[in-house]
Amino acid sequence: MSASAHPPTRVRSLLRFAAGLAVIVALMFVGDAITAAARLPLPGSVVGMLLLAAALRMRWISPALVQPAAEMLIRNMALLFVPAGVGLMLYLPLLRREWVPIVAASVASTFAVLVVVAWTQQRLERDD
């Protein structure tokens, strides 16, 4: 039996990874194109995320195809926003000037969301 008829698992998983990554990147560009064409204020990547979830639900794409690439991206997501975060260095004077409203808004909004979501959800479940 030749090796080309049954490529080694490592090659196959690499191909699957590349195919999954290509699907994900393509969906991002489709999302960008949709938001640009429809002049939506949404980020194209969020539209791409919805398209991926919809395509999986419609069985157009199998979860196994995108899983390796998706999990790699999600696992390393925190690293990916470090460069953008370093951009804070451009706004240090602004932070010094406005840290009070920034901190106040973050604290108020974090607790407000926590309380409203927990309470609404528990209430709605009781009514079901």
């Binding site: 990554l21 994900i24 990147v25 969906l27 991002m28 949404l42 980020p43 990547s45 969020v46 791409g48 995320m49 919805l50 991926l52 979830a53 999986l56 995108v66 899983q67 690439a69 998706a70 999990e71 991206l73 999600i74 997501m77 925190a78 990916l80 926003f81 470090v82 460069p83 953008a84 975060g85 370093v86 951009g87 804070l88 260095m89 706004y91 602004l94 406005e98 409203p101 920034i102 106040a104 808004a105 973050s106 604290v107 108020a108 909004s109 974090t110 607790f111 407000a112 969301v113 926590l114 309380v115 409203v116 979501v117 927990a118 309470w119 609404t120 959800q121 709605l124 479940e125 079901d128």
Partner: protein, 246 residues
């Protein structure tokens, strides 16, 4: 070194430095076990101090940095996979979850922008805070869309995440929240990734609900934030959108 190779070398160096600092920051958190030493926060502060110390500007760092940053877009798209899985899993609670998160998203945008305005924040800061209640990559994308400063939004989201993960569980106990789904989606909605990591310590239901909340909050807030910002601009409570040149 020949001149044409210099930009390439700098870009490689920026990427290598980012990877090394981030890896070291993760080791620090694992060793200390402290939520406060969030690796992203530690890495950002370290890199800023290093760049300033060496007199390197952000634009120069970004020659390499942007090559990493590009992958944030695909990473957001990839969130569609857990979103799909958890939507299937949540079953008949789907309607309740969607309603709670719709309320949470509206409350998140309104309280963040409202509090900032009350405390006299500038328009740019108000625009940056509108996307506070979603996961960092989506918050940065929304922030760019509504004329905020994506790095500021990222920092605020991470700080909120740490706050919610630490103070959330005791508050939920005081509120007598017994539903595991309610516990999970509240943590995911208010504390995003850090909250989900905390939810994972409670159990699978809490973790899955928290992850689901991240995806749905992202979608709802992507719609809600531009609407609220548009309304605030119409009311002239904030100034018109300023387009950054960089």
């Amino acid at each position: 070194m020949t001149e044409p190779l210099r930009p390439l070398a700098l870009a490689t160096l920026a990427i290598a430095a980012t990877l090394a600092v981030y890896a070291a920051a993760r080791v620090v958190q694992r060793r200390t076990g402290s939520v406060l030493l969030h690796p992203v926060l530690v890495a950002i502060v370290t890199l800023i101090l290093a760049l300033r110390g060496m007199g390197i500007g952000y634009a120069e760092y970004q020659r390499g940095g942007r090559l990493l940053g590009f992958w944030l877009g695909p990473a957001v798209v990839a969130l569609g996979l857990p979103l799909y899985r958890q939507m299937e899993e949540i079953g008949r609670r789907r309607r309740a979850v969607l309603l709670s998160l719709l309320a949470g998203s509206a409350v998140g945008v309104v309280t963040a922008t409202g509090t900032a305005l009350l405390f006299g924040a500038s328009s740019q800061v108000v625009r940056s805070l509108a996307s506070r209640s979603v996961t960092t990559p989506i918050a940065m994308a929304i922030s760019a869309r509504v004329g905020g400063l994506p790095p500021l939004s990222a920092a605020v989201v991470i700080l909120s995440g740490i706050l919610g993960a630490v103070a959330g569980p005791p508050l939920l106990r005081v509120m007598d929240i017994r539903s595991r789904t309610a516990w999970g989606i509240a943590m995911g909605a208010s504390a995003h990734g850090v909250g989900t990591a905390r939810a994972a310590e409670e159990g699978d239901t809490e973790a899955a609900s928290s992850g689901l909340a991240i995806g749905i909050m992202g979608v709802f807030t992507a719609v809600m934030a531009p609407l609220v910002i548009w309304a605030l601009a119409e009311l002239e409570w904030i100034g018109p959108m300023v387009f950054a040149s960089g």
